[in-house]
């Protein structure tokens, strides 16, 4: 009886599945760059590929956003239905590479000289076991201040060079009746700001040890406690309504002049651009005080999957076009980030972009280019999220002192390892 039922079912369901082969002249791409500027930037790539005769096909993602895309990707890969490439972040690339589903672009990389032009810190994520598995699209850096120039002039502020300068500047803004610090109280924003605070408080050596190597002694050191104390100082300058606010709304507060400054990655520049603001005249971009010379980065990558032989040509074309100087320049001008290779001319970039490119080059050569822990480039996602939990609980008062925060941080990171 049951068997009959099952056989009937098997027959009925088998019709639902049908083999489907991808067109070999097609690039199947999973990404979540759908908003105005990003979509426009990606169009450049589409056109480059169209010139070589490759059609572009977006893999639809219900709900948009990176999380939904990663869930969709997981399902596709589990079903053995690989896209040509997918937008991916940091450790995700390595996770998939370890699972053995990534392709091999080493030949193309050699031919194009990526080994030399892409910063070594980025290659940690785009090269797995000596094989190129991903093409970095851009480099974002998170240790930036975004300041409304009109407000800055009004309160007579100057570029803060140290953390104490910064606090003095915030005090000035407070006295003038503007919200000093625009912050969105979501855990990743708080943690992104804390990345910069740690670098500023402890210096490059300390940042690397604590936030990239996860060295336990550094994590529970007095320097880390001082970093938490500094974070607590900064949080005093946000408006009472900050909790849960989206990052772009916080940026809008700076754009409108309701707030003086936001600590945020350079994707915030895209918002300034969209509001038709120019750097230098409408807004200012400074490195987070005390972090000049170092860059905390994260990077968008196109992870390349191990597609069947007949689809490889399209993949190589995509990878080559992605790392071509023209696309790197055109895309990053719009996106607010800087090119993922250090030999792209900065002629088309604005003042902030030029500074970003120069800083990246300097940091790459000086060994002060560090992965952002909050953005998932310092440690695997489990650790990064445990870190965000602790920072956020500290900001919102569940964790009451910096002593407690440090203990919790060590415990949470241990748990997540």
């Amino acid at each position: 009886m049951l068997r009959k039922l099952l056989i009937g079912t098997a027959l009925a369901t088998s019709f639902a599945f049908s083999a489907h082969a991808a067109d070999v002249k097609e690039v199947q791409m999973l990404h979540w760059w759908t908003s105005g500027g990003e979509a426009a930037a990606l169009n450049v790539l589409k056109q480059d590929l169209a010139k070589e005769g490759y059609a572009w096909k977006d893999v639809p993602v219900a709900g948009g956003g990176g999380d939904a895309a990663m869930t969709a990707l997981k399902a596709m890969v589990a079903a053995g239905n690989y896209p040509t490439a997918s937008q991916m972040l940091g450790y995700t690339v390595l996770d998939y590479a370890a699972a053995g589903v990534m392709g091999d672009l080493t030949e193309t990389a050699k031919k194009e000289g990526w080994d030399k032009s892409v910063p070594a810190a980025l290659q940690k994520f785009s090269v797995y076991n000596g094989k190129w598995v991903a093409a970095p699209v851009n480099v974002h850096s998170v240790n930036w201040l975004w300041i409304n120039k009109a407000v800055m002039d009004k309160i007579g502020g100057t570029e803060p060079k140290t953390f104490d300068d910064f606090i003095a500047l915030l005090d000035k803004a407070k006295a003038a009746g503007v919200i000093p610090l625009a912050l969105g109280g979501q855990n990743w924003q708080e943690a992104t700001m804390f990345d910069s605070v740690v670098l500023s408080t402890g210096g490059p050596e300390f940042y690397k040890k604590a936030m990239n190597d996860l060295d336990e002694d550094s994590l529970k050191s007095d320097t880390m406690k001082k970093s938490f104390d500094n974070l607590a100082k900064l949080v005093k300058y946000v408006d009472p309504n900050f909790s849960g606010r989206d990052w772009n709304l916080a940026t809008a507060m700076v754009i409108k002049g309701d707030a003086l400054v936001q600590v945020m990655g350079d994707w915030a520049k895209g918002e300034f651009h969209a509001a038709k603001k120019t750097p230098g005249t409408d807004f200012l971009c400074y490195r987070f005080p005390g972090t000049d010379g170092s860059v905390i980065y994260n990077s968008d990558m196109f992870g390349m999957f191990n597609v069947p032989e007949d689809r490889k040509a399209a993949q190589v074309a995509l990878a080559t076009a992605t790392l071509s100087k023209s696309f790197q320049s055109a895309f990053n001008v719009v996106k607010g980030s800087v090119p993922a290779r250090t030999d792209v001319p900065d002629t088309d970039f604005d003042a902030c972009g030029k500074k970003g490119i120069a800083d990246l080059k300097k940091a790459n050569e000086g060994g002060t280019l560090f992965g952002s822990l909050a953005q998932g480039y310092g440690a695997p996602p489990a650790v990064a999220n445990a870190y965000k939990d602790v920072v956020s609980k500290f900001v919102h008062g569940q964790i009451k002192s910096s002593d407690e925060a440090v203990t919790e941080l060590v415990k949470a990171i241990d748990d997540a390892k």
């Binding site: 009886m1 049951l2 009959k4 039922l5 099952l6 009937g8 079912t9 098997a10 009925a12 369901t13 999380d67 990663m70 869930t71 997981k74 589990a78 995700t92 996770d95 998939y96 699972a99 109280g185 979501q186 855990n187 009472p240 309504n241 909790s243 849960g244 695997p380 996602p381 489990a382 999220n385 445990a386 939990d389 956020s392 609980k393 500290f394 900001v395 919102h396 008062g397 569940q398 964790i399 009451k400 407690e404 919790e408 748990d415 997540a416």
Partner: protein, 319 residues
Amino acid sequence: MSTVAETQIKLTPEHDARPGASVRSRLQDLLPKIVLAPSFAATIVFVYGFILWTIYLSFTNSKTFPSYDITGARAYQRLWRWTFESDPPSSWYTSITNMGIFGFLYILICLALGLFLAILLDQKIRGEGVLRPIYLYPMALSFIVTGVAWKWFLDPGLGLEQTLHQWGWTSFHFDWIKNKDFVIYTVVIAGVWQASGFIMAMFLAGLRGIDGEIMKAAQIDGASTFQLYRRIVIPLLRPVFLSAFIVLAHLAIKSYDLVVALTSGGPGGSAWLPSNFMYEFTFKRNEMAVGSASAVIMLMTLTAIIVPYLYSELREKPR
């Protein structure tokens, strides 16, 4: 299943007697099974199959992808330890205490409010046809819409507080949605707003089903209105309470989207429910084993509550 099998056996001799009609009648026999088969299989695989798979995964060390080597109950040990970390609260502790607060208040207030509204609407008032859909309508909205609308309404900088400040009541203060200790109650408010109208409709249907003769008899015997409801109507509504409880309990357990839309997790993750914990750990933190273990614990907790209740309500009562 057993009844279907028995009929088949009974019919078999007839098939043999009339071979010409046998194909047709056999087909007729099979038809219900063929029609049912897809949904039966879908349930077996996608509900029970995946429950088993989740239980299996919770005992492995699955991270980003499922891994199939059993490595013991480490995920459960971690959850067990987190259960008692209340200061500072671990995410799991926050999730389960929130579940307790939310589940209890949500079910209780929805039942009470739903019953109260239904009794009021049942007083043969004018315009019932207009009022009923007004209360029922929120149920037609998705949790996301409810969440976003209430998020704006409760936001001190946009909604209620701001409006009252503009009207001159500047001392008014209502920032629960930004407060780590109270944010879960805003989830209760939004949830109750959405579901109580539906519960009202269920109770209204129940009230309409009560025999008017009983009520009249009670009134003749001199029962007050309060006694009437307390002693007669509410006991008669017992089956409705059961249905309403089941509906509310499962809505409460799966209120993932409401929390996300309303609070995006709350300040420092203080509005998480176990469903948020499960999603967060499985898909964002690549700790599939821990996520699976939390899902299993959710299922067991739900089973522990629902099964005895169903059993006590549905078994044959001795007459």
